[in-house]
């Protein structure tokens, strides 16, 4: 009965454990500053979740997830920036009512593409649609022509480079290298004080679970099985009459939209958005979070993101030199020794022991449930 379209029993337990950890344990144990850090890490967890679908299941490695994170983040930041640049707030500028960086760059009127971002509804739609359509265009152009694997990775990387250069170059419209800073209110509600951060954290966790359930749904539907089949034997799926390109485009778009939601939450939580979260380096780091957590594991992506970021923060505070050695070594170790990441260690070594322990205590007929959890199959290559 527990094995419905969304999840099976062992996965449900995993989700519950994560929920208790994020909703109860962390808010009780951490002060607001640390909780806000966790919230910042979790914005990347959205990206990692999207990568599990498009890389782990779909077999498409995108090195341009920073692009979608950035697009989502900038859409949200534009709305918040407009709200923070009301005429009353900006009366010392030569043109009041426009964002401060435009004023510094001698732009005297709000550009046309900024105008619709006065509306929150439009902004929320844009957070989803702009990256979604962008991913659709790139995906259609690439997958219809059967570009995949390394070529796709390199081209998405180039797209990330292009967008970063563009954002930095067009200072007057985007805030340049500093990005959009000094974001203050959301519909008049101040997002800077502590209690707002806590509310935003819970909102973000809720959104994360929505995304987890969507990912679970895709994973357990026929669609998810086709994605996995396609990753392992693309030609066979094609010969069976499925449109491989369309499924790849779908997976890529889902990954992009998840990343964009993460970006939008980032702008809300952290209060600024800058090109340093768009380019090649952050994009690859996002792939690493997924790889460390386990490219096949939906929950592993969340844990992997939190773990790597936690290590980054604590190590780079105390040992700034060691940190890069540690991070680099971690990548190499994960790739060489644990291709399925933390979730792989859990699934291969820890869980079988627990299962055996449970099985030895219970009558045999009930022990068969956990078999579903290993159905993910072999690693991508």
């Amino acid at each position: 009965m527990t094995d419905n379209r969304f999840t099976n029993r062992s996965e449900l337990i995993g989700i519950l454990v994560l929920a208790v950890f994020l909703v109860v344990v962390l808010p009780l144990c951490l002060d607001v500053f640390r909780l806000n850090l966790v919230a910042k890490y979790l914005t990347y967890a959205f990206v990692a979740l999207g990568l599990v679908i498009c890389w782990g299941y779909g077999g498409i490695l995108s090195l341009g997830q920073g692009v979608f994170f950035g697009l989502g983040g900038y859409c949200m930041a534009m709305f918040l920036k407009l709200e923070a640049s009301s005429v009353a707030n900006t009366k010392i500028q030569s043109t009041p009512g426009i964002p401060d960086f435009m004023d510094w760059n001698q732009i005297t009127a709000l550009p046309l593409f900024w105008q619709p971002f006065h509306s929150l509804i439009f902004t929320i739609a844009a957070v989803i649609l702009v990256p979604g359509i962008f991913a659709l265009v790139i995906g259609a152009a690439m997958f219809k022509r059967r570009v995949g694997g390394t070529y796709f990775a390199i081209i998405t990387q180039a797209v990330a480079a292009i967008l970063t250069i563009l954002i930095v170059g067009q200072q007057g419209y985007t805030g340049g290298i500093n990005g959009m800073t000094d974001l203050r209110t959301l519909k008049g509600w101040d997002i800077r004080p502590d209690h707002a951060k806590v509310i935003l954290y819970f909102f973000e966790v809720g959104l994360l679970f929505v995304c987890i359930f969507i990912a679970q749904f895709i994973r357990h539907s026929k669609l998810g099985r086709i994605l996995v089949a396609m990753r392992d034997q693309e030609d066979r799926v094609r010969f069976s009459g499925y449109s491989v390109a369309n499924f790849k485009i779908f997976a890529f778009c889902v990954g992009a939209i998840f990343a964009a939601i993460g970006g939008a939450m980032f702008a809300l939580q952290v209060g600024f958005m800058s090109p340093s979260f768009v380019g090649i380096v952050p994009s690859i780091e996002m792939v690493i979070y997924t790889a460390v957590g386990g490219r096949l594991s939906i929950l592993g992506a969340v844990y992997g993101t939190m773990l790597v970021n936690f290590a980054k923060t604590s190590l780079s505070e105390s040992f700034p030199e060691l940190w890069l050695f540690g991070l680099g070594g971690l990548f190499i170790a994960v790739v060489l020794a644990f291709p399925n990441g933390l979730a792989g260690i859990w699934g291969d070594y820890v869980q079988p022991r627990i299962d055996r322990l449970i099985a030895s205590r219970k009558p045999k007929s009930e022990a068969g449930w956990t078999d579903n959890s290993v159905a993910d199959g072999a690693p991508a290559e």
Partner: protein, 308 residues
């Protein structure tokens, strides 16, 4: 946008920008040659390629310092020794990396990307710890300074000519090694059919190791040449890595001729555009054009005709 220049001015502008583009072209070719061997022939995505280049640059810097301190009389010729040392250092490191890391990942090409990214982070930090975070510049010998005056309005710097000559020389050597020598035939045999190559008695593991080392060694020489025209810091390698991959992919991964042609078209487009708009917009337009063409022709300009 051409209105304010006379025909003669425009001519000089194109020649000057064309020449600046040629220097950029040389850097691209030198970096892309190594990558075309590693990525195009072996299928390994080496994200640490830039760091191998920087190693060459640091070796050159150290050699130049050594000559300045101990052998000032021979300083004008330090560069030739530095280049050999850069090749050996990067090649040796490449061999080590292949043995420790890459050989386990030949069946998983996308994972080489992650692992070598980790490697590049470690190398960057190593450079920062050893050489310091600031950029270092090499002092050029006297004969490389100054420029040739071709006409009244056209001047070409001598170090640029030197770097270009070097590029031509190295390209010829690489083309000979890959396409004419016995060893190059072995490399191509291993690439096309590893099992069959092994069956006819080629030591494929050894060929892999030396191929990777050759690619890294050429990157080291590229870094060495790079010190002639710019300064070097721990993270300089990252600036070029995406461009270089695009050059290789755009040209068609397995084709040396394609690599050269694509490096030429990309560098010329960029340096010509740079005169008429900001450098960043020129770069955006160039990259956009490359990505656009790649979407139309995914296998690159000079693709081998293979059915997929």
């Amino acid at each position: 946008m051409f209105g304010e220049y006379s025909i003669g001015d425009l001519g000089s502008i194109f020649v000057m920008q064309g020449f600046a583009g040629l220097i950029l072209f040389s850097v691209y070719v030198l970096m892309a040659l190594g990558l075309a061997i590693i990525f195009g022939q072996m299928g390994v995505i080496n994200m640490a390629h830039g760091e191998f280049m920087i190693l060459g640059a640091y070796v050159t810097w150290m050699t130049s310092n050594f000559f300045q301190t101990f052998l000032p009389g021979l300083f004008s010729g330090y560069f030739f020794l530095a280049m050999i040392l850069a090749f050996l250092a990067s090649g040796a490191l490449g061999m080590l990396v292949e043995w420790v890391l890459i050989r386990h990942l030949y069946k998983r090409p996308l994972d080489t990307l992650l692992a070598t990214w980790g490697l590049s982070l470690m190398l960057q930090q190593a450079y920062r710890s050893i050489f310091g975070a600031r950029e270092v510049g090499v002092e050029l010998p006297q004969w490389m300074l100054g420029s040739l005056k071709v006409t009244d309005s056209i001047e070409v710097p001598i170090n640029g000519i030197f770097v270009m000559g070097l590029t031509v020389l190295i390209t010829v050597v690489v083309a000979y090694v890959m396409y004419k020598s016995r060893w190059g035939r072995q490399v191509r045999a291993v690439v096309q059919n590893r099992i069959m190559a092994g069956a006819v008695g080629i030591n494929t593991a050894k060929v892999d190791r030396y191929t990777f080392a050759l690619g890294c060694g050429i990157a080291g020489v590229a870094g060495s040449a790079f010190t002639m025209i710019g300064s070097t810091g721990p993270t300089s390698g990252q600036l070029y890595i995406v461009d270089t991959f695009l050059v290789v992919v755009f040209g068609g991964a397995a084709s040396l001729l394609g690599t050269i042609a694509s490096a030429f078209s990309i560098s010329q487009t960029q340096s010509t555009l740079e005169f008429f708009m900001s450098g960043s917009m020129a770069k955006v337009l160039t990259l956009l054009a490359v990505v656009g063409i790649l979407m139309l022709r995914p296998q690159g300009l000079f693709a081998l005709k293979v059915r997929k």
